[in-house]
Symmetry: D2
Subunit: 462 residues, 4 copies
């Protein structure tokens, strides 16, 4: 907020709307605002407090000039956009770090076979690496959305004043530039009344939390002794002294809950704005707290998942033992079709029969296959066949099955290694976007400080 006032003052001086002297005195006062300025609740908000602070130091006459060519409405909107853009950039950094962590852990587990689930039932064999990559890819899209939104967020509403601008010859572009904005929210009524920028970023961050909630849910599930696929680092679990085997996955539980929190704040924001006539209405003020809580929940949740994933000890033995040859029944049907020319439909029926027998007998599919496949296949084809048992066993082996899924996006170690490689370079791009955006803001701030110094110095020399 202080920055907004400074930029506005610099512009007023440059446009000759206030004197160099008055400008310098106000800027000097603003430079001394302590970062922990105590707020007088009687003065409504931080904007009023700042103005009172300045007025006290430079006198009401001079301090009053601060309000030339601006109002609380455009200033509030500008300050909010600056808060949002900062969160956005920090979230992109946090997402990049989490994605990097997921890629690292995936790279360790290219060969860690495990069941992939549908309906929480094992469905097909996959690997932990492939599974972690699914989460990574969702977070990569989350990052992309934020980056694309930035251009719509990082625009200056300054100059819109109460709602219809001013008759004074102010320079909106200059203020924008000094504040690091990439352009203007042109229409002055739109500038003070629109909050879609907040809802857009809020929606994106809520989606990020939604994706995190699915990862968190799996960590909770996998931490149960029944699954036993993962043990979370002690620092991110809570333990019971008397039941040391029990480690409550409290961090994932909290992250899961934060998705609900984000949705709640988003609903509040949306409902606030619904059917609000233009332009500024006080309802919008109530939205600031919701937005802030939402963005904070997303940022903190993203950050805390980094050490949780880094420190997770995956139990690959338990994962492997959750695989059974039933998962490769489809592979066997495919194999029979391609190798023996039996129509897919018939192959499918034949394997179903084997699987049913295996299920009934409580035996693995490959054992039942051994004793029954040849007979069933010969009956189906009406001719003698030569079963290549090593090949059949290979087909039924879940680990082999994974290796054979070499298609783009599939779980084979080669495909996943390739995917990780590719993702690392995309990650690099996102990261350098974030660095660039951050750098641009710093430069703008630097420029602003420079102008401030020039005006103060000029006055002192004068």
């Amino acid at each position: 907020v202080v920055r907004v006032l400074k930029a506005h003052l610099v512009m007023l001086v440059k446009q000759g709307l206030i004197g160099q002297d008055a400008g310098a005195r106000c800027l000097e006062a603003l430079r001394q605002v302590p970062s922990d300025l105590p707020l007088d609740p009687a003065l409504e908000d931080v904007h009023m407090n700042l103005e009172a602070y300045v007025a006290e130091r430079v006198g009401k006459e001079v301090g009053g000039q601060l309000n030339l060519g601006k109002s609380r409405n455009d200033q509030v909107a500008a300050a909010l956009r600056m808060v949002v853009r900062d969160y956005l950039i920090r979230e992109v950094f946090a997402l990049c770090q989490l994605r990097s962590t997921l890629l690292d852990r995936a790279a360790e587990h290219l060969n860690s076979a495990m069941p992939g689930y549908t309906h929480l039932q094992p469905g097909q064999p996959t690997t932990l690496a492939h599974h972690l990559l699914a989460h990574h890819d969702a977070l990569a899209r989350d990052t992309g959305r934020l980056i694309e939104a930035y251009g719509r967020i990082n625009l200056s509403p300054m100059g819109a004043c109460a709602l219809a601008g001013t008759t004074l010859p102010i320079d909106r572009e200059l203020v924008a530039r000094l504040l690091g904005f990439q352009g203007l929210v042109e229409n002055s009524m739109d500038a003070v009344s629109s909050r879609d920028f907040a809802l857009e970023v809020g929606s994106h961050m809520a989606l990020t939390l939604l994706d995190l909630s699915r990862l968190a849910e799996e960590l909770v599930l996998w931490s149960s002794p029944e699954f036993g696929f993962v043990e979370l680092p002690d620092e991110y679990s809570s333990t019971s002294s008397i039941m040391p085997q029990k480690k409550n996955p409290v961090v994932p539980e909290l992250v899961r809950a934060k998705a609900a929190t984000a949705l709640g704040h988003l609903v509040a924001l949306y409902t606030l704005v619904k059917a609000l006539p233009l332009t500024y209405n006080l309802d919008l003020q109530e939205g600031n707290g919701h937005l802030h809580s939402l963005l904070k929940a997303a940022l903190e949740s993203t950050k805390i998942m980094v050490p949780v994933i880094q420190g997770a000890r995956f139990n690959t033995d338990k994962m492997a033992s959750a695989l059974d040859s039933g998962l490769t029944a489809t592979d066997l049907a495919d194999y029979l079709t391609l190798s023996y020319g039996i129509p897919f439909r018939q192959a499918h029926q034949l394997v179903s029969r084997l699987a049913a027998e295996a299920d009934k007998a409580g035996k693995p599919l490959h054992e039942v296959a051994k004793s029954r496949l040849q007979g069933l296949l010969e009956t189906a084809l009406g001719r003698r066949v030569d079963i290549r048992w090593p090949r059949v066993l290979e087909v039924l082996n879940p680990v082999r099955s994974v290796s054979a899924r070499r298609l783009v996006g599939g779980p084979s170690p080669e495909a996943v290694a390739e995917a990780i490689h590719h993702r690392r370079s995309l990650l690099e791009q996102d990261l350098s976007w974030a660095k660039g955006a951050q750098e641009a803001l710093k430069e703008a701030d630097h420029r602003l400080q420079g102008e401030v110094v020039k005006i103060i110095g000029g006055e002192k020399r004068g």
Copy 2:
């Protein structure tokens, strides 16, 4: 959905995974699927019904091949993405039409002065054109968001199968191309379990409805006899035969309500997906209806606002009479500061005093100014001044005040005319994006039909 099956079959034939003959027979059967295929509820969903339809015609042996290298999970995701992308393109068209209408109406009303409101209190003078442009600009951002999202939506999940792809040598890119997708949702687990694409477009369309709800609210307010700023076309109002003066603004009321509907469906979608472990769970099926209702509400609301805005009769006299010189009090303070060198703060106090007297006396500000300004100003400055009365009256004239707000994004007729001009060219860009996207889908479909004909023909010749 039929298209997805066709593309998949073409690929299977091209990869040699099923015979030309079997492929041709299946494709032939798919071509004959009536658009109103009666659904047997015992068969769960449209996918199962389609497969049963084909199997009935070509026999179970051949029909069964359809399932080689795909599953319902990737097929459902592909079909949903195709529905979403179609809605998205149609919404962009509808938004462009509504924006064009708003620009047209704005162009008619460059000089129609009216109060701009904050807190539903007149705040500063503006024009109807400027006000309509504020709504236009919000809708322009809504369009931009959809266009940017398209690249994340229009990707093919086909080939992901149940969740881990297949061991068969399928060609995912070919299927994607034949279906008009611009690329793949690579990771196969991600491909079947993610629904962020639905939530992203859903959020954007909900935001569009939110913006429309604000426009609708103003139409409802302005239709009240108390405001009397607008009369909506009869076809979009409901009238009472016995009270002909009463025209209920039912269409804006409904559009306003649709924002609530959109939020509801969005909340349902989000809550469905929250904390859902990977990959496919049946919960996702429940989301399809919500998504469809949401997108439909947005599209229909956008479309119906076009003739409402086109046919609205604005009562510019009533608007003008709602202006009063109190709205230009700030202008007077600015003028005194710049012309007489009185500090802004003091000028502000002086004008406040005039305004308070005017309010108390129930007179317009300019009348009170006439009798009191000179005295107050001379006291304040401690010297005689020469008031240029014509200029002061001009400053206090709301219409003149509007003209003087020439800054970028301000309400002066020149600034607004310039803005309209600029927006027309941006609109043209968005429109040509939509045409391009539509064209690309048509071409892909054409290509697919070509391949189908080739296979069926080849078989017939053979």
Copy 3:
């Protein structure tokens, strides 16, 4: 709706506001309205269609009388309240049936020990019966809320007309009585504009779905092979022919999803009504679909859970094997405190140490206790002690531990049997409330038919 018109007509005749003859003709026409009256969309809604239907049969002159002393606004509110009360009563019946089923299944499993979970980690030993009762009790509260709401729902808005009643001497109480309402929504503006009755019942039914979603979640979890605690009946699962061991718990997944659906509709309803000025606005019409979908989702979900629970095959062996003596560590600490006078804190530390050693060694707690307890205890107490081993083993036995939790509301078989007994009689009360409410509505309807017959007959005789 037809019923509302009939009751209104009977009243008009009785009050002498329309003639016996005209009344009889209208009533006759209404009696012939086919239940599947085809709706002409040009006539806005079902009310207008009905009036057109009657007017066509008895002429516009007579048919027009229908509108004397009522309007669409009160009629719509009355019809909606009648829909809501019907759903409410049916939901109470469905809840009673589901509760009865849960009590039956609980009664079968008084001794089926299993772990109770916190954070999805086994926390303390309990029984399946006790666990099912927890779900029962939530549903019992859901029932209670609906029953209490009924008195606020079942009130007649008829007579409020458009918003301010009428100058005609109508009899509001008579219409209310004929429609089975227990009283009036007195204030006529309130009567046509309030929808809190819909939101109240909607909230209650959404809460019911929330409770069902938790039960459903457990069924999904327990159906996974990792838990393996339950096998759902085939009719309520979907199976894969090629993976017969895989049974997807689709019904619980759908019920879980319906909680999201309910929340979405509730949010839409709430947001619709928010900040709506009195009295009727068309926005309210949009709410009807949301309310209907919400109530239907709750009713169907409640009903379908009955056969799911009835047919669930619980695997008590798997449940028992998920218990381990770590769950009774706290019991041992309690025992040591009470039996050996060692302060609770110290007892707790001692047992923690045993548990840590057991965890490290991968041995059950009771084995480690056997070798180490005596030494540790003697060190702690500084004297020799006599360990009663049979008692210690008993204390550490989870099944025994359950039996010892005899407190009110605890899991011991006696406490649970007692609880079931008590709940059966409360269930009986709720059920007889539902029967009474249903009966009262039937009687009112009977009375209305009687009056209709009397008027039509009187006219015919005349």
Copy 4:
């Protein structure tokens, strides 16, 4: 929370589970807990901090006893229920005060005629008193819901321990009684995992805010110069020094926004709990903040509306001038039907024609009636008629029309006066419920303090 610990300790002593001495020392320590106990964030929550505080004072040995027969899970649930019941009672008090204010203001305005609106169009004539009563009645239902909920909220979960109770012979009823609870949440798993009590009260308070948002919306509308029906007290508006005629209705805007806030927190709470397996999961902790914010928003909004309504200056002249004789067109049709025997339909058409002519000519209906009614009526009836002009003018007079709406719940001054009288006695009942509930809690607390003193004293004497 301190109270919960005290009650638990008293019970432990009474049951002989800990010694009188140890109990007395712990209780003494608890009595000294400062109300602003500084919280050490390392200790997770206030419960842990309290236990550490006690342990520090009485030693770990004795302090550890505190945990005998309870856990954080039941204690958290108990504390939350106590918070909710306090809010509930305070909200009932606040609602009673606001209702009383509305009744007072209504009593002042029995004869203040104004238009009642549908679709924000004047629909029928009513009075300000009748209008205020509509809001009152909604708030009366809100009060009723809270009172009914109390019995489900005010139950003790203590004794449920972690989830399955304890093997110790604790006395749950005694703890409940000492804490002012009316009974137990019996089932121990239900006791620690259910949060429907929070959602129930949360829903009710959100509904209250929804009702307040409609009242607030009307205050905002009515404050606009276009309506001009009300002027809010300065203390609850914000004014602009330079535009003294402008008074922003900031308090109603904020209350309107709080309805959005309440919905957001409710959605968060619901989504948190959705599909959460039993029993306690950390997600529930995230709900506490949402619940607290929701209840606080409702309570503060209810309270602040009291002085706003008390201080509102209604402009009854402006209201009266918004009435026009078009509003009584229906009355005229009714009159013609009843007095001249012309069928209602025809009367309706005839009046419609008059109204259309009046609208076209820009004249009031009664003027046009004067010149045209006789002719039209005679044509319609085919005979000469005698128009009783004074009666017709009376019928068309909106103020007279209001007086004639004498039906129960109608706007006639008599009907409204009667309604106010009746509501005052219902209000008295609700108020005395609130006093009774508050009294009962105080008594319980008194009893608890008595027992504490007895134990501490007993020990000191001992």
